[in-house]
Assembly symmetry: C2
Homo-oligomer: 314 residues x 2
């Protein structure tokens, strides 16, 4: 991030017609964004929402409330404009791109070994990296994949340790939750590599790897990212354990209602922008948070200074 | 609120292409809004932000970090488009109206008796009531008035009891905070009436009464309201103690960083939509929350059903 732009933004912030600090977190967000865009007075004009979809071999363990066919059906729904993310992307004036990754070729069941080969995880990561429009000024990553809260929970368990990462996902019952926890335990035992990229390959999925690739690709182009919920944060975690600065260009869009998302965010030292009990994925929570960040920049870049407005200071 | 529209909205919600409950609080917001608008599939197309400004006799007690002249200067800034609320209202596509209430005639200092006469509080209340555009479909109330966190804290103390309602406001120092707490204690002693409207008259201000009037006027026209922070919530509290259903058409837009706003919201049984550390007033937090509510309705009213999209259920 550009220290000069960030510090020029912080200087401007002190001159705006409001008591110092009165816009709270919006002030910090504006300075952070200014730094990444290397512009002391930026606005968000071209946000992009990327949805990656993938299928998971571990779904055969009965870990989801929905059949696997729903992944492809929801991709059609995204393309037809009928999903929640379509409405939220439109509201935010964001471009929406949907990438279905080999849906007819699910990953391998990770209870038996690695979900992906090195070639597969690299291809998915590259799909994510190249899906980022270099002209966008804010990226939201979303995902769809029946079984992918199981994958994300396994990633968290592998990288952060501890128990209780399995949650209800799309609404699995008690028996399904027990199967999910068992599958995660088996997956951790069957895949001992604990490096970030090793875990992404062994316990992730194509859409999870693509999210990680998009996050990394955005950083290379100085494009700030709003992370969505449980699955996107797990993807981000794989980057974070490789390099603690890998997520400096990211902000957590929301706190998901999915089980242990709060513990994942705490491990990343991130405070979510929203906390509204969403647990849908698709990038929905992050897309809703676009307007918070845009509001921060609208205030920062649009407000009059005390001198311009002839307002007395404290 | 219309039970029929609300229940039709709840029925529709169950058919939308997402797991039941996956949009969390957005689903409840959509049903609540549908009931008030008597429309099972509504959208927000004409939001209005109202700012009321007033001056306070109690400012003479040295309770604010800013001089009293700032109230009128900020009104000019609102009219010129330079304040935070201008940027946030524009982002939300909201009409913004500014009402300055007798700025050259501050209320009486409530440490010595009632801040307003019955005629004054009624006139201010009526200004608020009539300022609501009957054609708007969502109201945000905002305020500006040097000294008005002192007024709001006194209202909360009178109606809810307990100590510690005084906060830093626009950024008063320790000595100012002590003067503020003392002025509040004096005000409570000097004004023994504990009815909602009695407290509004004795400890409120013109802009506080206008906010209360706008909230009440919106209810009469079935217009949902997003409450802003500490001062607007105090105004709402005066209505709530008169009739526990008076705020059924309101949602708390955000949790302010101003001292005891959380206790005020708890007393009203309200959960804020946002919690971003704002403490500016002007309706800023509520205006930012317009997009959350709009997002809830965009999803509710715009999404495809399982049948429409050909997506399998759980």
């Amino acid at each position: 991030a550009s220290g000069a732009a960030r510090s020029a933004a912080a200087d401007r912030n002190l001159q705006l017609t409001k008591p110092p600090g009165a816009l709270g977190r919006l002030e910090d967000l504006a300075a952070w964004y200014a730094g990444w865009r290397n512009d002391p007075r930026p606005r968000i004009t071209a946000p992009q929402v990327l949805i990656f979809a993938g299928n998971h071999g571990v779904a055969a363990q009965g870990v989801s409330a929905f059949p696997v066919a729903v992944t492809a059906q929801m991709v059609e729904n995204f393309r037809a404009g009928g999903a929640a993310i379509n409405q939220l992307a439109e509201l935010a004036g964001a471009r929406l791109d949907v990438h279905a990754l080999d849906l007819d070729r699910p990953t391998a069941d990770f209870t038996q070994g690695a979900a992906m080969t090195e070639a597969e995880v690299c291809a998915a990561f590259a799909t994510g990296w190249t899906a980022v429009d270099p002209k966008t000024d804010l990226l939201v990553t979303g995902e769809m994949g029946i079984g992918n809260t199981t994958s994300a929970a396994a990633i968290a368990g592998a990288l952060l340790g501890g128990e209780g990462w399995a949650g209800r996902g799309t609404g699995v019952d008690d028996a399904g939750l027990a199967r999910k926890a068992a599958a995660i335990a088996q997956g951790l035992a069957a895949n001992p590599d604990r490096s970030g990229l090793g875990v992404l390959m062994a316990l992730g999925g194509r859409e999870v790897a693509a999210v990680a690739g998009a996050i990394a690709g955005a950083r290379a182009r100085r494009i700030p990212v709003i992370l969505d919920g449980f699955i996107c944060t797990a993807a981000a975690l794989c980057l974070h354990v490789e390099d603690a600065r890998a997520l400096d260009h990211c902000v957590a869009g929301h706190l998901s209602a999915e089980g242990a998302h709060d513990r994942m965010l705490a491990a990343l030292g991130m405070q979510p922008l929203l906390s509204l009990g969403l647990r849908l994925g698709e990038g929905s929570g992050a897309a809703l948070a676009i307007q918070v960040l845009r509001g921060a920049l609208a205030c920062h870049s649009g407000m009059a200074t005390f001198a311009e407005a002839g307002v007395s200071g404290a």
